[in-house]
């Protein structure tokens, strides 16, 4: 069976500065993959390559058996990748409702369903997102990605800045989404939570894949070496 | 041997049409003069209608091209920059259009000749005409800059009736609804307006649409042949004052108008006529003297012995024209709009500033 998402030896640079030196990973349909590594190791850069915000230099990226090399960001997104980017990036001058509808595509996720997940957003529908609290913006970013009804959800530190109860709800939601068959690529710092949802993990070190396996196989020494715990 | 002429005029932007007439009129005269015309070498440059550019071009023509004579400037504000620079460096300047009052009075200069008309003249003539016609109440209007202020002052100098309203519009204004409303409410018998270029086109079109039927009178260049096609039939019948017209009956003018139409396929405007006269004045002086002998050359110019398209033509003490000024009316001739002469507003008119000139 060919993988749902597969990266093989991907390299990439920002201008003249190389950031990825060979990232490989594989995510099968309906699974959750954790992407891990210390600050500045290339997690976000990898995600930018997958969603074509940064064209990669070498290696291959395949998603649902298309080679992504020649495609632009909107095309790839329409193939079914929903991105929750690092730093939220809500559309500041748009209201919550507009943020949610701006890129919505038909499917099970609609506004009522997002509001059921994040009741707080329901209370703030008409507010421009610039003035939302940090956590509210994070909820909005997740809701916005879900509204595109993706096949692959990419979460880059999506629980950053959320209150513990909400964070628990998000993880609960992730588990539910996984149960519904959605594939998920997740970057997060909470090992405990990742362990409970991720089927496998990839660790990056200086822009390179250094380890792949089940999270339960990650020994404390490895965690200390690569993640600093 | 020959004379080198620096022709500085506007060849780009909105004023390029007038510049084209100046250039074409000047060149036509040289062409018509045959061999004599070949003695004149012309350096042509675009002033972009910017005074600083004009003065730099003048410097260049004087310092690098070694021209003997400069001419061609259309706009007063450019002339104010260039004329002192040229005469200050010992070069002749023959104005083919702009002749601001400052250069006619205390600022006059032996090396500077106006071959056109002193700026106030056409406005004065309009005032004289209105008085003579017995118009008792006039509404007068011009843009708010020196040429506009001079124009209304010039009009009032010879107008004896009552000015019911004196309105200054904004330079570059394109909508005249407010002024037209004032005209309608003013109770004036006629309206004198000075609106050069695009402002004039816009005003005339809007006036025609407004349903106000108070007659208009303007200076000739507000209804000259370069803009009449753009105004269209709305202009027919409007009176204006000018020292020249396409139908002036003299041989020089016939040759000029026909030659111009044949070469360029349009009626010449007064700008073209003045440039044509300027070139002929220059040629007449060249026949008698060389610019290298400024005294003699100046005397030869001052004699003004050439066949002007205006018929009789002479200079006053400040080297500005003394000439007749006519009343014209816009008409359609051969399917094209132009002016015809319907009367004379002033005869042998000089200007109001000559006394202040000490040369």
């Amino acid at each position: 069976m060919s993988a749902f998402l597969e990266l093989d030896g991907v390299t990439a640079s920002y201008g003249t500065v190389q950031a990825l030196f060979g990232v490989s990973l594989r995510l099968d349909e309906g699974r959750v993959l954790a992407l891990m590594g210390r600050n500045g190791m290339g997690k976000t850069t990898t995600i930018r390559c997958i969603s074509r915000l940064l064209p990669h230099k070498g290696g291959t990226i395949r998603f649902r058996s298309s080679n992504l090399a020649g495609l632009n960001a909107p095309r790839v997104a329409r193939l079914g990748i929903g991105l929750v980017p690092e730093g939220r990036r809500c559309f500041a001058p748009l209201t919550v409702a507009e943020n949610l509808t701006v890129a919505a595509r038909p499917g099970p996720w609609d506004i009522p369903r997002v509001v059921r997940l994040f009741p707080r957003l329901g209370e703030r529908m008409g507010q421009v997102s610039r003035t939302l609290s940090g956590g509210e913006q994070q909820m909005l970013a997740i809701g916005r990605a879900l509204m595109t009804n993706p096949k692959l959800l990419v979460l880059d530190e999506a629980t950053e800045g959320l209150a513990p109860v909400v964070r628990q709800e998000i993880w609960e939601g992730v588990r539910r989404l996984k149960a519904e068959g959605l594939s998920i690529l997740v970057v997060d710092k909470s090992l405990k939570e990742l362990a409970s949802v991720a089927d496998s993990a990839v660790v990056l070190e200086r822009g390179q894949t250094v380890w792949t396996g089940g999270l339960e196989d990650l020994t404390p020494e490895m965690a200390d070496r690569w993640l600093g715990v | 041997d020959g004379v080198k002429v620096g022709l500085i005029t506007t060849l780009s932007g909105g004023g390029a049409g007038i510049g084209a007439d100046v250039r074409d009129g000047f060149m036509l005269a040289l062409k018509n003069a045959g061999d004599a015309g070949k003695q004149v070498e012309v350096v042509l440059e675009d002033d972009q209608q910017k005074p600083d550019v004009a003065v730099q071009i003048a410097d260049k023509m004087i310092q690098s091209d070694n021209v003997d004579v400069l001419t061609g400037i259309i706009w007063s504000n450019l002339a104010m920059a260039v004329v002192p620079a040229a005469t200050g460096q010992g070069k002749f300047y023959l104005s083919s259009n702009a002749a601001p009052s400052a250069l006619a009075g205390s600022g006059c200069n032996p090396l500077y000749f106006s071959v056109s008309y002193q700026n106030d003249n056409l406005h004065e003539a309009a005032g004289a005409y209105a008085s003579e016609k017995g118009v008792k109440k006039m509404f007068i209007m011009a843009p708010n800059y020196p040429a506009g202020q001079d124009s209304l002052a010039g009009f009032k100098r010879f107008y004896t009736g009552e000015v019911v309203a004196e309105v200054y519009t904004q330079v570059g204004q394109t909508d005249f609804a407010a002024e037209i409303a004032q005209i309608r409410a003013s109770g004036a018998e006629e309206v004198f307006f000075f609106q050069p270029g695009g402002m004039g086109i816009a005003f005339l079109k809007q006036y025609a649409e407004s349903g106000v039927d108070i007659p208009l009178i303007g200076p000739g260049f507000s209804l000259s042949e370069d803009i009449l096609p753009a105004v269209g039939d709305a202009a027919i019948g409007i009176k204006n004052t000018s020292h020249w017209s396409t139908d002036l009956d003299n041989p020089a003018n016939k040759a000029f108008v026909e030659g111009f139409r044949a070469d360029f396929g349009r009626f010449p405007s007064l700008y073209a006529a003045q440039a044509y006269d300027t070139a002929n004045l220059l040629l007449s002086a060249m026949a008698k003297a060389s610019p290298s002998d400024p005294e003699a050359f100046r005397a030869a110019l001052a004699a003004a012995e050439f066949d002007s398209v205006r018929g009789k033509f002479g200079f006053g003490p400040n080297q500005h024209p003394i000439q007749d000024i006519y009343v014209l009316e816009v008409e359609k001739r051969d399917g094209e709009l132009t002016n015809k002469i319907i009367g004379t507003a002033m005869t042998d008119r000089g200007d109001a500033y000559a006394e202040q000139c000490q040369m």
Partner: protein, 249 residues
């Protein structure tokens, strides 16, 4: 107990119908880390913005070292020694890490109108700046432009700039966010040492850090402080557990 360094009384701020800060009173004493926790949108950042003078409260008074600072603008408050970090990193993107921190040093010593001496060779700027960069765990990145830092590195720069202000009080809005496990551990150690220099008002959703660091915790819900107490007291508070901590108590 000593006098509070920062003392807030009856602070109120509304946005239209929403009361984001509702009659909040709070003290920050020398040597303490006072954590402010509460659900998303409770008004924590809004409170910090009012303390630093970025937005004006509708009612209430703020005293800093005994002085009423209600009328001072944000820059003046910063120069009095109120340092803040931003919830969303806010740095000077085209400056290097070093220049960013130098700017903070220059701002703190108040001598901005010097036109003559090149800043980069001014050791009164560069030396403290390098020290704080090292302290925040960014050594080796001095010459890197801030815009190319990774998210976590930028958070560290944010801390270095706060340190460089040599403040009399720190107001930190979610400093741990985005830090990564290792960074969070380092930062916990840094903050723990810092409290002897100046007290900290710490807004944070990372409960590991809060429980490890806080001397006192206040809980803000819908703009109101519903509880203040020690770590143990707050962990035990059923209301706080229900509305905020969930399983993490």
């Amino acid at each position: 107990m000593a006098d509070p360094i920062l003392s807030i009384r009856g602070l109120k701020k509304s946005f239209g119908a929403l009361t984001a800060t509702d009659d909040v009173s709070l003290d920050l004493f020398p040597g303490e880390i006072h954590a402010l926790i509460g659900p998303n949108g409770a008004g924590k950042s809004t409170l910090i913005k009012q303390i630093v003078g970025e937005i004006r409260p509708n009612e209430g008074t703020i005293r800093f070292e005994g002085q009423v600072i209600d009328r001072l603008d944000a820059a003046a408050r910063a120069r009095l020694g109120l340092a803040r970090s931003f919830q969303v990193s806010s740095v000077i993107p085209d400056f290097t890490v070093l220049q960013n921190v130098m700017l903070a040093v220059a701002g703190a010593d108040g001598h901005v109108f010097r036109f003559h001496r090149p800043a980069l060779s001014d050791r009164t700027l560069t030396e403290p700046a390098r020290f704080h960069i090292a302290h925040a765990g960014l050594s080796g990145r001095e010459g890197t432009r801030a815009s190319v830092l990774s998210h976590g590195e930028r958070r560290k720069l944010e801390i270095a700039m706060a340190l460089a202000l040599r403040p009399r009080a720190f107001l930190l809005d979610e400093p741990m966010a985005g830090m990564g496990l290792e960074g969070a551990k380092q930062l916990t150690a840094i903050l723990s040492d810092l409290r002897s220099e100046a007290p900290i008002l710490l807004v944070e959703h990372d409960m590991d850090a809060v429980f490890a660091l806080a001397d006192r915790i206040s809980v803000l819900v819908y703009g109101r402080i519903i509880a203040t107490g020690s770590v143990a007291e707050i962990r035990a508070n059923p209301e706080v557990r229900r509305s905020y901590l969930g399983e993490e108590a």
